[in-house]
Amino acid sequence: MENIIEIKNLKKKYDDKFELGEIDITIPKGVIVGLIGENGAGKTTLIKSMLNIIKIDSGEIKIFGKDYKRKEKEIKEDIGVVLDNMFFPELLNAKDINNSMKDIYKNWDSELYFSYLKEFDLPDNKPLKSMSKGMRKKLEIVTAISHKPKLLILDEPTSGLDPVVRAEVLEIFQKFIEDEEHSILLSTHITSDLEHIADEIIFIDKGKMLFQKSRDEIIDNYGILKCNIDYFSNIDKKDIIAYKKTKYAYEILVSNKEQASRKYNGCVIDKITLEDLMVLVIKGEKVC
């Protein structure tokens, strides 16, 4: 399968407080990849590095197989972007955005843009400042897809939206990748969104990449083993990724729930959600 993004050993240091490092990512065509991690983990820094909003210290970024440093303009013609903060001038309306964007992107399709506006009930003559947050976010997403990009890079596109708008937005994303030629990289801390749409998950913590795995691999293999306090000493340390002690029991994150259920047949193993995984890895105790 052709890769749409290849990142090798990306590093970015912000004074002494934060460092994004050892980031290696490969994203194939036709997938939705979710970037997860707590606030301040480095998700936005990674996205900003990929878009040259901030300058990386070292590493290599290839998008669509092209070297970012040499072919930045070409690459950006085929990327649609939504950043975490609202970014369109609030005095403008959707028509103004079309007027401006049609002279920015070679492939901008005004007809498509206005058809999306209609589809998502967005007014074309109302200034952005009088639109709701959900409407503005939808407009940003519609703008990001109206030049028919091959890749969408989205930073927290669903944050702060109500469940109805969120569902609409997720539907847009699913439609976008339908033809298997397009890909999406989106960061979010609303992990339940990813359980519905993501094919792969990249987990970042404290500026380091913990893993990149398929969603199915995580949901099918990982689990939370629950045992009482006395039984905990019987658990093989090698099987414990992280654990949390509650009042009467231990909750242990395991990476192979079938094997664990055979090995510790007196214990209950619960299915895992991405949120459980995130919380246990970040906040849970480690054995070694």
Binding site: I53, K76, P89, L91, N99
Partner: protein, 210 residues
């Protein structure tokens, strides 16, 4: 880049109501003779230019603008080009008003005097743009304005201090000399100043992180 120029003009258009009110106040002052029409050009022009920078900062436009194709290069180019276009438009408006006001007041028009005064104000617009833009690109619209005031008043203060000890006559003569050949000299000086300023702004913006 055309798209970015359009974006700035669309912001100015959306803001035009406030600007028309300000312009109306100026018009009264002009008819009263308190203010010269040609002086209004840089004033309104700079207010409009700065407002686009302020909206860019306020609306987090810059991080998005650099994700657009050739965004980093075009943002700077677009700002300078739209400023030049706006200065030219405002100069034409000022010239027309200048001629009109002169005709209403005295029934006679001294085109040469109006042109020469207009050239002077265009040059002051260019000087302010050339000084201000690199500072605004570096420090943002709000901080940039403060720094510009400090720089301008600081320079004026130092100039006044230096003038106490050194004879400034040759410099004053040189500036006065500009007046006589202003139609040729001012556009050339403007292009040089804007060119240098653009190169500095471009250098700043290429390396800026958002």
């Amino acid at each position: 880049m055309l798209g970015l120029i359009k974006k700035d003009f669309l912001i100015i258009k959306a803001n035009s109501k406030q600007m028309l009110i300000i312009f109306a106040i100026y018009l009264i002052l002009i008819f009263q003779g308190t203010m010269d029409i040609t002086f209004v050009v840089p004033l309104i022009g700079i207010m409009l230019f700065i407002s686009t920078f302020s909206y860019d900062d306020f609306n987090n436009w810059n991080p998005y603008a650099v994700t657009l194709p050739d965004g980093r290069k075009n943002v700077v180019k677009a700002k300078y080009i739209s400023s030049v276009i706006l200065t030219v438009i405002l100069s034409i408006v000022a010239l027309a008003f200048g001629v009109g006001v002169a005709y209403i007041k005295s029934n006679s028009i001294n085109i040469e005097e109006i042109l020469s005064s207009l050239m002077g104000t265009v040059l002051s617009s260019v000087i302010i743009i050339s000084l201000l833009y690199p500072i605004v690109f570096k420090f943002g619209a709000t901080n940039g304005r403060i720094i510009l005031f400090v720089v301008v008043f600081g320079a004026a203060g130092i100039g006044a201090l230096v003038a106490q000890f050194i004879d400034m006559t040759p410099i004053i003569n040189m500036i006065n000399g500009l007046d006589s050949c202003s139609l040729i000299a001012i556009p050339i000086i403007s292009i040089i100043l804007l060119g240098i300023s653009y190169l500095i702004s471009n250098k700043i913006y290429q390396n800026k992180e958002f």
